[in-house]
Amino acid sequence: MEVLYDGIIQAFSLMISLDAEVLAVTLLSLKVSCGATLVSLILGLPIGTLLALARFPGRRLVVSMVNTGMGLPPVVVGLFVTIFLWRNGPLGFLEILYTPSAMIVAQAVIAMPIVAGITMASIQNLPATMKLQVLALGATRVQMVWILVREARLPLLAAVMAGFGGVISEVGASIMVGGNIKGQTRVLTTATVMETGKGNFDVAIALSIILLMLAFGVNYLLTVIQQRERPR
């Protein structure tokens, strides 16, 4: 228990003194995970909307794949992204392995199905008659989709939160495609793994606490936005 106590003390002293390395690691975590969440939104929102509204052969298969993808193991994603980004891999010419960009790619792959899945569920949860009503009132198809997405915007923020929460806390993919390089690709989770390996449990606990506070802060912000207007 003494270790835990030391770690908590260490966490606050690192935060109050604005330790340059911890600050850089924290900012990079935020950058990478925000970037990945943004990419996953750009891809996941349209896919989720399409799956919710369109009917096409093989839809059930795609929906099952998205639902499975919501629990995609980060190490599996990390492994495949690494293989693709190897110098001699299909995307090797990009030369982004062991850079923050590679981590954004991997994390976006993890978050995308989460965003798509929740988007699909929240649009499907709208009253079934709504689509018909909107169309009956003379909206075009594009307008109809836009109105439904707007109507589902509050549950959609849950998709953002779940996506962000999934990637900021993941370590398997980040350590594989990022390499945990000091000053370049070291983020809170990979630094925690390394400090644990080094036996610096107090620093590891401090980093964990900072990670928790960061995740809490971002989610709190989104929750405030979500709760500002009561769902009708």
């Binding site: 950058k31 990478v32 943004l38 190897w86 001699n88 062991y98 850079t99 954004i104 390089i181 080094k198």
Partner: protein, 277 residues
């Protein structure tokens, strides 16, 4: 407000995508022990300052580091698995291999020492552990330490793989030491990692100082002929830096302030035969 949040997110992403640039980076594939001991945190910034190259240190086991070298996914290796290195060089994946430093492995275990290995030779100790079926924790991860351990079992004529008392963690050295401490088992560790973890372990050194326990680190430049994407100039610059007199002096002093004795002995320019390899 929403617009500002969106704008902020875009800026964050753009800056994350543009967070690198400049000279072609050097990918150094090395073992966890060089990173966990803190040595690379001292040497890498020094090299970056002197050469202008940016180093990407990927700390994995020696086996994986050499696999990365074979595939041309690294530019230079710093590894400690002499037998595997020999094969790596014979297969012409590496162009040049030079001695950098050594420290030693030690056999650690609970102070009660149920297999009575204290003070024996490494080979005798392995035999005694097998005969008394004392719990032994193996890295089991194809690292340099794991390779050394397998060599010791072989020397003692023991095949431990299927035995109940032989458990493989598949983890790094630090975590394997933690497991050994919790289960009161024996394990083979490099001295540097043991010293870094010693304060909370409750494991003691039982066998040390045997020539069979030397832990020798060498730097390997990769043969460019095999792969055009390898940054040979950067790899060579790093290898040259590792054996330069000034670096060797830094290595020889590393750890004195924290542990009272150096963690590594610099070896550049020595005849490998003098270390028995």
């Amino acid at each position: 407000m929403k617009r500002w949040i969106a704008l902020g997110l875009v800026m964050v992403m753009v800056s994350a995508f543009s967070a690198w640039g400049g000279a072609k980076p050097v990918i150094l594939a090395t073992t966890t022990s060089t990173q966990d001991s803190g040595l690379l945190d001292l040497l890498v910034p020094q090299f970056e300052k002197e050469s202008g190259y940016q180093v990407k240190t990927i700390a994995v086991g020696s086996g994986q580091a050499m696999k990365m070298g074979e595939r041309g996914e690294a530019d230079v290796l710093l590894v400690h698995s002499p037998a595997a290195e020999k094969k790596f060089m014979a297969d012409r994946f590496g162009s040049r291999r030079r001695l950098v430093m050594h420290n030693d492995f030690v056999l650690v275990g609970p102070a009660t020492d149920p297999a009575r290995i204290k003070g024996t030779s490494a080979q005798e100790a392995m035999g005694r552990i097998a005969r008394s079926q004392g719990l032994f924790l193996s890295r089991g991860d194809n690292s340099g330490t794991h390779a050394k351990e397998l060599g010791l079992w072989k020397g003692a004529g023991v095949v431990p793989e299927r035995e109940k008392w032989y458990q493989q963690t598949g983890l790094g050295m630090g975590q394997t030491l933690d497991v050994a401490a919790e289960k009161r088992g024996y394990t083979l560790t490099d001295r540097a990692t043991y010293l870094a973890h010693k304060k909370r372990l409750g494991l003691v050194i039982l066998v040390e100082g045997d020539n069979a326990l030397l832990n020798i680190y060498q730097v390997i430049e990769l043969a460019a002929g095999k792969n055009t994407r390898i940054n040979s100039a950067g790899g060579q610059a790093f290898a040259d830096f590792m054996v330069a007199p000034k670096t060797q002096e830094l290595i020889g002093r590393f750890g004195v302030d924290k542990y009272g004795a150096p963690l590594f002995t610099p070896d550049a320019g020595k005849n490998p035969a003098s270390l028995g390899i």
